[in-house]
Symmetry: C2
Subunit: 527 residues, 2 copies
Amino acid sequence: MIFPVLSILVFSGIVLLPVLLPVAGTDNALEKAAGLNNGKAAQNFTQLERLALGNVQKESSRLWAFLLSVYWVSFVTYFVLWKSYKHVSNLRAAARSTSDVKPEEFAVLVRDVPVPPPDQTIKDSVDSYFRALHPDTFYRSMVVMDHTKADKIYQEIESHKQKIARAEVVYAESKTASKPEGTKPTHRIGFLGLIGKKVDTIEYCNDKIKELVPKLESEQKITLREKQQQAAIVFFNRRSAAASASQTLHAQMYDRWTVMQAPEPREIVWSNLSKKIYERQIRQVVVYAIVFFTVVFYMVPITAISALTTLEKLREKLPFLKVVVDQKEIKTVLQAYLPQLALIVFLALLPSLLMFLSKLEGIPSQSHTVRAAAGKYFYFVVFNVFLGVTIGSTLFSALTTIINNPRGIINMLANSLPGSATFFLTFVALKFFVGYGLELSRLVPLIIFHLKRKYLCKTEDDVKAAWAPSDLGYNTRVPNDMLIVTIVLCYSVIAPLIIPFGVAYFSLGWLIAKNQVSQELLSLTQV
Amino acid sequence: MIFPVLSILVFSGIVLLPVLLPVAGTDNALEKAAGLNNGKAAQNFTQLERLALGNVQKESSRLWAFLLSVYWVSFVTYFVLWKSYKHVSNLRAAARSTSDVKPEEFAVLVRDVPVPPPDQTIKDSVDSYFRALHPDTFYRSMVVMDHTKADKIYQEIESHKQKIARAEVVYAESKTASKPEGTKPTHRIGFLGLIGKKVDTIEYCNDKIKELVPKLESEQKITLREKQQQAAIVFFNRRSAAASASQTLHAQMYDRWTVMQAPEPREIVWSNLSKKIYERQIRQVVVYAIVFFTVVFYMVPITAISALTTLEKLREKLPFLKVVVDQKEIKTVLQAYLPQLALIVFLALLPSLLMFLSKLEGIPSQSHTVRAAAGKYFYFVVFNVFLGVTIGSTLFSALTTIINNPRGIINMLANSLPGSATFFLTFVALKFFVGYGLELSRLVPLIIFHLKRKYLCKTEDDVKAAWAPSDLGYNTRVPNDMLIVTIVLCYSVIAPLIIPFGVAYFSLGWLIAKNQVSQELLSLTQV
């Protein structure tokens, strides 16, 4: 995504900077306006503002240069997008036709399987249905099963195994020269290991595992037989057959046998597979409504929380804070920053909230969920950062204005956009200097890793798991970059000086993303 | 289509008529209003108006009955639509799985075939492409060819054959008792048979046919070899394979190898098959723009034409009209009716214009063209008849009002809808009494048939061709019925008395449509 954006900005900048900067810089609307209003404050504007559209006089023929620039930027954008569409399409086609086959390329995900007649299992009905429709290419099917119970037992076994491994490390460390037999680690079997009988960890866990394994096996058999869900993954014997089947309507009524491309195995959100089509639709509507209200009225809960959590109230509720709060300096600072703190906490929690909401929609693949969350976050930042700052009021009051007078939106934007040019120029520069600095240092993950290693990790595996890189955070990275794209493209003609900042932001971003991706690939192969 | 509408209206009427008529009839808002304004004209409203929403007083609790009625009508409508969706879907599934197979069920239409490498014909490239993608189910392909030239020769041969047949009938008739050898029919070979050498028709045409047949054969060979178009019909060996292929993307780029279900052979609009995807898109945009302006500004050309064709101007241009126009009575009538005449001519030509425009869009099947034209016509009648009458001004001024104040549309409709209730009640009744009367009598087709038989038809085949029924005219019939549906549903709660008229319209319409369809089927089997 970064490379096409860079191309757009560079090609736009090559023409816009040498043309528009002199055109705007040599005019003197700002000086005149300042001179008229107040003879003394004739220099009451920055040099940045001199180089923008705001410095061109009304009905000046210089405006033609700006109009033509709009066409040039649009043309460059469409052209680069078209080129990169082709490029991405070729990449995808190449990936789909390599000899390096992946199982999901031969499969489709089938949901909303109708309830079969009583003498058939769901697997039988899926098999016969797809064999009839794809006699030459159907290979086999896998019905999704609800193995919550079996899974729980498996998890228990695994945790016991982990405990044994840790206990063995502890036991080995305790065999010092002075005490060669060591002390066998013990724990209590009650709540959180705090109460109950004290037992030898290694022996106890081994017994438990022996007890659980047959239980797991019998549970697995029951699951296979009785807990088939109304969803399945169907495999074909050719890639093209699977691709074609995933695009085809498979039933007469649209609410049955819905098919789609199978996601990668590690990406499937299993809990969403068995959700029915109507449930998914209702969930989607509800989630969209919640997101809409979050985007538009996001200030309401924050002000409410700030009002509730005034210092006085906090002091009453949590008396142990008294010592801190009663000091005068701290009190002043806290009183000033509590609302901002609420805002920061809300903004920090927002991506997780949006991810959670997107998962609730019933999307069956993890990466689609991330994409859905990224879309929601993009709406949030565009509405609240871009429009919010531009229009200079909360989005809600702007919305009512727009509803009352939709044609007024053009005037409203035309009046307020040039005014915020300097703000956004600074915004992009700040993102570039500070944002990427924090990103590069990866301070937070480092701290978390060291805390983990010190207090939680016992075995080699634990250390590896802690060191494993987290994902790239597409759900906030992409919308944040898209916000910068939106801002830079929008202001590229109004204040062309923003283009170099945009170029710098995305060239650095490109380097960092490449670096992070290659590191991540490295660690993935290491693990 | 008619049966579900009837069900909706009957079910709505069963509840609305017995409930709303007494509720409205026993109130007295109209009497009060009339009494307040003018004591004498207390009866200045019709009995129809007494039985509508307009007679209920402001903020009366009787309005709840109307609100609940809206929910009832909506519920009935959704329920019936859902039922008939299922019904139609079942019908279609049954038709698709009968043993009575149709060739188009095994075929897909492929357009935008890319230009093949020079050593391949288009047919080769289609064959190899589809054989690779559908190795088990591909049967064969037929490439569309531009046989305009061959067709022209074929038409010529056919017209000569027809001439011979007619000439033989004339020759046989000329063999009377008094002149047993008869007179051989002759014609001139020049322009329109008016000038040139006189020849014996039968001999001349036979010679011509002998001359043209080898020409046709050689032209057919050339066409097969060299005039392949970039479109093809691909056949599969299974219905399900064709159905699945028609829904699948066949190429990496969306502008190549576009596939769709093959239309019935007799329905294909051959000239549209070879149009490229971008050409089709541009044509569609242009056609939609033209239709938009036709719908919104339809009064403009009519007033312009009326202004141009004032009697004075006509008199100057066409002097032979003087005798008629100079008579005073005729002049008065003509002057009054010329604008209406222009309007009537425009409205009569409109369906043909819309059919023509829809064909220009590049739709490859005749029935889709009819559907597209019907949609356009529906917009026209809804905007100009329904909204035009309701809002009581031309659509254009209404549009500007809406653009200036979008929220005002609710007030505008709320103010004007009840006022036009009586008008639309009369409108539906008129359609019912007069429209269907004309339809049933089929006066115009009868006149045309008799004219044809008298002056044009010579052979038995000609008479059959003239008697063959024209199509049902879906492109005007469906939108007109939909207009009635819109009107009746819209006024069903405001003035419930409209429901019986709607029911009458559609029950009669059902009978007539059944009658016409069965007649048409009869004559189709006869021919």
